[in-house]
């Protein structure tokens, strides 16, 4: 009586190509895992001092939980709209972010010497964090048109696309975020098919100009970076050159990590991070809290999860249906790779000291939401690899 009828060919076709079917769940799970772990670490790094000061010990935990929730919404929202649509609004988004970055220099709030935030009451918004994602899309959209063979004009235009927001970030000044933009530029240019000659030449110019900046004040008397900034950039090479505060902070950071040992001092048992010995222990130096309380086992597991996340992003770049998707994924990959390497390396004293958040772990609204949005973009590309 009942016969099983094969579904209509069209229906089946649609099912096969459904974005949900090709959604990269492992990437999503890895992201959520890291973010959830981040909540615990936010708490671990701050409860003791907050409690001592008579504040709510879960203050940072609650805030970060809100950020993660908003981030998840942003991730889903970014993944929801077909990524190919972003190509067509890239220009508008790019101009909008330039305006915001310019505006923040005028009306922004200065925190820790950088005018990087719009504040309204307790709400803060850091355009440079979202700018990273926007720039990835804009740069990808632009370089896609060269179809894997970027000539010099394209190469230079690509550089200009990133250099503009970078320059505005430099004026804040936020050296760390600026370097993230640079990392995005280099990664995307490389994969987009820039000629090795161009890349090599640009790198050479970069090295020379960095060298010039570092010696400029002594040689020509133009001070582009103050001494503290300079010494922090070179601290990983020459620990003694750095100012006393920074050196103390670096020593404390390494002590915190080392004190964790193989298996850690136990959740909520860290004293280096719990008792404020490590600076910025809930933001830039949050990795020290992980390493101190969970030890090598925990810290390595975290790094491995990050590596897995990067692998999934890389796979998306590899499997993308089009070059734009590949370049978007590469941009996100470059961004995360640089942030993770730079941030974790800084806490261990092998990279310069610059304030860059560790994605999904560092306490902060804009950086967390932007990181989720970036993952959303990658999920989007992967999910639509067969989409018409």
């Amino acid at each position: 009586m009942t016969s099983v009828r094969a579904p209509a060919p069209g229906t089946r076709q649609r099912d096969l190509r459904s974005p949900l079917r090709f959604t990269d769940y492992p990437l999503m799970v890895a992201t959520l895992l890291i973010a959830a772990f981040g909540l615990a670490v936010n708490y671990a790094a701050t409860w003791r001092q907050l409690e001592f000061e008579g504040e709510d010990p879960a203050f940072y935990l609650r805030r970060q939980a809100v950020f993660v929730a908003v981030g998840v919404v942003a991730m889903v929202a970014v993944a929801f709209v077909d990524y190919r649509f972003y190509r067509y609004v890239a220009r508008q988004g790019y101009i909008a972010i330039l305006i915001l970055l310019a505006l923040v220099l005028v009306v922004g709030t200065e925190v820790n010497g950088a005018r990087a935030w719009f504040s309204y009451g307790s709400f803060q918004f850091q355009p440079s964090e979202f700018g990273k994602v926007v720039v990835i899309v804009a740069l990808g959209a632009f370089l896609t048109r060269f179809d894997g063979h970027v000539r010099l004009d394209g190469f230079l235009t690509g550089i200009a696309i990133v250099a503009l927001p970078m320059g505005l970030v430099f004026l804040q000044p936020d050296l760390g975020t600026m370097l993230v933009y640079l990392a995005i530029l280099m990664g995307v240019l490389l994969v987009a098919g820039a000629r090795m000659l161009h890349i090599g030449f640009a790198t050479l110019i970069l090295i020379i100009s960095v060298g010039t900046v570092l010696v400029a004040d002594e040689v020509v008397g133009v001070e582009l970076l103050n001494d503290t900034q300079e010494s922090r950039l070179t601290a990983f090479v020459d620990r003694d050159s750095v100012d006393e505060d920074t050196r103390f902070n670096l020593d404390q950071s390494e002590t915190a990590i080392g004190a964790g040992g193989l298996t850690g001092r136990g959740f909520l048992q860290g004293t280096q991070t719990g008792l404020n010995w490590v600076p910025e222990q809930e933001t830039d130096f949050i990795f020290t809290a992980v390493a101190e309380e969970f030890g090598f086992v925990g810290a390595a597991a975290l790094l491995a999860t990050y590596a897995f996340l990067l692998f999934r992003v890389w796979l998306t770049a590899r499997l993308s249906a089009d070059l734009f998707g590949t370049l978007a994924a590469v941009g996100v990959l470059s961004m995360f790779l640089f942030q993770i390497f730079q941030n974790v390396g800084m806490t261990m004293g092998i990279t310069p000291v610059t304030g860059i958040p560790l994605p999904f772990l560092s306490h902060g609204g804009s950086s967390t939401v932007a990181a989720f949005a970036a993952v959303g973009l990658v999920l989007n590309v992967r999910a639509r690899r067969y989409a018409p």
Binding site: L190, V191, A256, G258, G261, F296
Partner: protein, 745 residues
């Protein structure tokens, strides 16, 4: 499949290749992170763990309470008191300028100081930079709590134990004082002391530092980077209190000795010196009381003295000047009883007499005609260049005397002759040897710091002094021995040495090292940790004729040079055998700047029949020994006697049988009966009235009946076991087990 192949267009190959490059970069960078992580967390974890702990944990020393110092009867001479101290640790400041401004402003308000005063204390460079600066000590407890609650950066209000001398200047020189540690002491025992420690700097405080000090404890505090204390780390190591020190002193006798010195010095200052016509300066003195059988020092006084409390917190220059640089009050820190060097004058005739008897230059009963002077008979040994004639004081002619009479009247001529004869008999060293045997010229070994040794003149000593340029001519002359025989010349003794010599003579020849400390005892349970034994340093035998000396000296206070001073004294109860001395002192007076007046001395033992105490009183520039020193000695002997009587009376009061323990009054309240017999028995089985009657109480006295507790025991009268009570909901009671009512006996 077909589609996939289709996608792998050749023109995308460079993208794949470059993605490969990116992958390599990822692997490389993560490899670097893992390597560094491994190095920090696995290879060098140990040093980091240590570093983290030393960060996190602040070790606070819990000072040990210093042991007390008490007299032989338990009178507290040195104790500790707790004072509230407010201090500031500038190292805890995050923003030095802002924090300093805040601290100065708040503390000046809380402590009632001006901001300038607070600032001055903060910048006080005499305080150790490594420890919190004391802003104010001795603040009110309420103020201290207020300061603590304010949680100002680096500010702490804490209790500190501070040495306290409740008897003030009593026995100050024996006690010494506690003051800041010296660098040498820290270097000697770096693990025991640090720069903030206060240690004994003089007296027994110094010599018994190890016993008194105790061991400090430790508290481990958990601190954050701002050096705020967030908790403790582990158990405190409690401090071990220092041991109590019981001195041989008797505070009553000590006080009497100190008062006697002051009193007699004041009287002496009202008298005129016959030598100069001026009033005696009488500025200083010392007194020693020894137990002749044990060597225990019963009193050791030195005047001028000081209040050791002054020295605890350190002195301002003005305070120091007014206390210690007053010309009328010379060298109050000197303990003259053991550090002062004096000519003993006629009190030394005891030694000369013993030497004469021993060398047979003296026949105790042989009569000597004192014509007021002694002249060296032999012209050869007395060339015109040196003194040949030695006169009595004011050339007094004392007439015919035997040894006894010579001592009673203190004939100088008699002993000048002995000095001369002793110098010419045998090797001429008998007087020096006798003096040395009795302890002159060497330290007595009392447990007090800085004891002087003194000197006994001899040919060698004189030659040595000449070599050192102290005196022009080093030739030993008869005259030197003649002067020595009456306790003058180069002879220098401490009051303690003189006392000990008389004590040795009085106890029959047992020379002891004087003790100032009797025992060391645990502070909490009073258990004796260590008793300082009596130390015999030599046993001497006295020559035949000693009884004549004994006889002579026993008349000094009755019909001799001290007769006037001892008028009305109860010689039968506590008779004194002694000798006065009036010694010429060399040099100019510290006080007047002109030639020193005579030193007044009295040395004696009591009671006469079986001496138990030796007493020496020495008053500088106070005139005749009989006028100034003997009355002071008399006061001390009287104090000794009354202290003995007091102790005997106390012993008697203690010994009678303890009063009969009175029958405890019978408690007839309901509560008491229920407690005694159990509520089951008292209330349920028999009823309270019955129980009351059985034990002999009036049932009317029962009073209110307390509520019963379910399940509480009563006594099972049949078996003597406890049996529970059942209280029903309606308030009625019954035993859970039926019991037979038996006798309550």
């Amino acid at each position: 499949m077909h589609q996939r192949k289709d996608r792998a267009r050749p023109r995308r190959d460079p993208v794949r290749l470059r993605l490969g490059v990116l992958a390599i970069a990822v692997v490389f960078m993560f490899g670097a992170l893992f390597t560094r992580l491994w190095f920090l967390q696995v290879l060098s974890a140990d040093t980091h763990v240590e570093q983290a702990q030393s960060n996190q944990i602040d070790v606070v020393e819990l000072p040990a309470t210093r042991g007390r110092i008490l007299d032989r009867n338990g009178v507290v001479l040195a104790d500790n008191e707790f004072v509230s101290v407010v201090s500031v640790d500038a190292r805890a400041w995050q923003d030095p300028e802002a924090d300093r401004a805040l601290v100065v402003e708040e503390l000046s308000r809380l402590l009632g100081m001006t901001p300038a005063e607070v600032s001055e204390q903060l910048d006080d460079e005499t305080q150790d930079p490594l420890v919190p600066k004391v802003i104010k000590d001795d603040v009110e407890e309420a103020t201290r709590v207020l300061v603590e609650e304010r949680h100002l950066p680096g500010v702490r209000g804490e209790l500190r134990a501070v040495r306290n001398y409740p008897q003030h200047d009593l026995a100050a020189h024996v006690l010494g004082y506690v003051g800041p540690i010296t660098e040498d002491q820290i270097e000697a025992e770096p693990e025991r002391y640090d720069i903030t420690d206060r240690v004994g700097r003089a007296g027994v405080e110094m010599l018994f530092e190890k016993d008194l000090r105790g061991d400090p404890g430790r508290r481990l505090l958990e601190v954050n980077r701002q050096r705020e204390v967030v908790g403790t780390a582990g158990e405190d190591v409690p401090p071990v209190a220092g041991e109590d020190l019981y001195l041989t002193l008797d505070a009553r006798v000590q006080r009497a000795a100190e008062e006697a010195i002051v009193e007699q010095l004041e009287l002496a200052r009202q008298r005129q010196s016959e030598d100069s016509g001026n009033n005696f300066p009488a500025s200083a003195g010392a007194a020693v009381v020894l137990d002749v059988d044990t060597g225990d020092i019963v009193a050791l006084a030195s005047y001028p003295d000081y209040d050791p409390n002054w020295l605890i917190g350190g002195l301002t220059k003005a305070q120091f000047d007014s206390h210690f640089l007053d010309a009328q009050v010379p060298s109050p820190l000197n303990n003259r009883a053991i550090q002062g060097l004096y000519a003993p004058g006629s009190t030394f005739k005891l030694i000369t007499a013993l030497a004469g008897l021993r060398a047979h230059t003296l026949d105790a009963r042989e009569m000597f005609n004192d014509e007021g002077y002694f002249e060296i008979p032999d012209a050869d040994t007395c060339p015109t260049t040196v003194q040949c004639r030695y006169a009595n004081a004011r050339e007094a002619v004392l007439g015919l005397l035997d040894l006894s009479g010579a001592l009673i009247k203190s004939s100088d001529a008699y002993f000048y002759r002995q000095g001369y004869l002793l110098d010419r008999t045998g090797d001429g060293r008998e007087l020096q040897e006798t003096a040395a045997r009795l302890g002159f010229g060497s330290a007595t070994g009392v447990q007090l710091p800085f004891e002087a040794t003194g000197r006994v003149p001899s040919a060698e000593l004189k030659a040595q002094l000449a070599d050192e340029g102290v005196i022009p001519d080093g030739h030993w002359l008869n005259g030197d021995n003649i002067n020595l025989a009456v306790g003058q010349g180069f002879l220098a003794v401490t009051p303690l040495q003189l006392t000990n010599a008389y004590a040795t003579w009085a106890n029959g020849g047992t020379k002891l090292n004087p003790n100032i400390v009797d025992r060391v005892a645990d502070r909490t349970d009073g258990e004796v940790r260590r008793v300082l034994d009596r130390r015999v340093s030599a046993t001497l035998e006295f020559p035949t004729g000693n009884d004549v000396i004994w006889e002579g000296l026993s008349y000094v206070t009755r019909s001799g040079t001290a007769e006037f001073a001892f008028q009305g004294y109860d010689h039968d109860a506590f008779g004194v055998i002694g000798k006065t001395g009036t010694a010429q002192a060399e040099g100019a007076s510290e006080v007047t700047g002109i030639t020193r007046e005579d030193t007044a001395i009295f040395a004696g033992v009591a009671p006469r029949e079986d001496p138990r105490y030796a007493v020496v009183v020495l008053l500088e520039e106070a005139g005749f020994g009989g006028d100034a020193a003997a009355p002071a000695a008399r006061s001390i002997f009287e104090a000794l006697h009354s202290a003995e009587l007091e102790d005997a009376a106390a012993l008697e009061a203690e010994s009678p049988a303890e009063p009969e323990p009175t029958e405890p009054e019978l408690d007839c309240s309901a509560t008491a009966l229920m407690d005694r017999f159990g509520q089951g028995t008292a209330v349920v089985e028999l009823g309270l009235e019955t129980v009351a009657e059985m034990v002999g109480c009036d049932p009317a006295e029962l009073g209110p009946i307390p509520p019963l507790v379910p399940g509480a025991p009563g006594v099972d009268l049949a078996e003597g076991r406890d049996a529970p009570v059942d209280v029903a909901a309606d308030g009625t009671y019954r035993r859970l087990q039926p019991a037979t009512v038996g006798s309550l006996r």
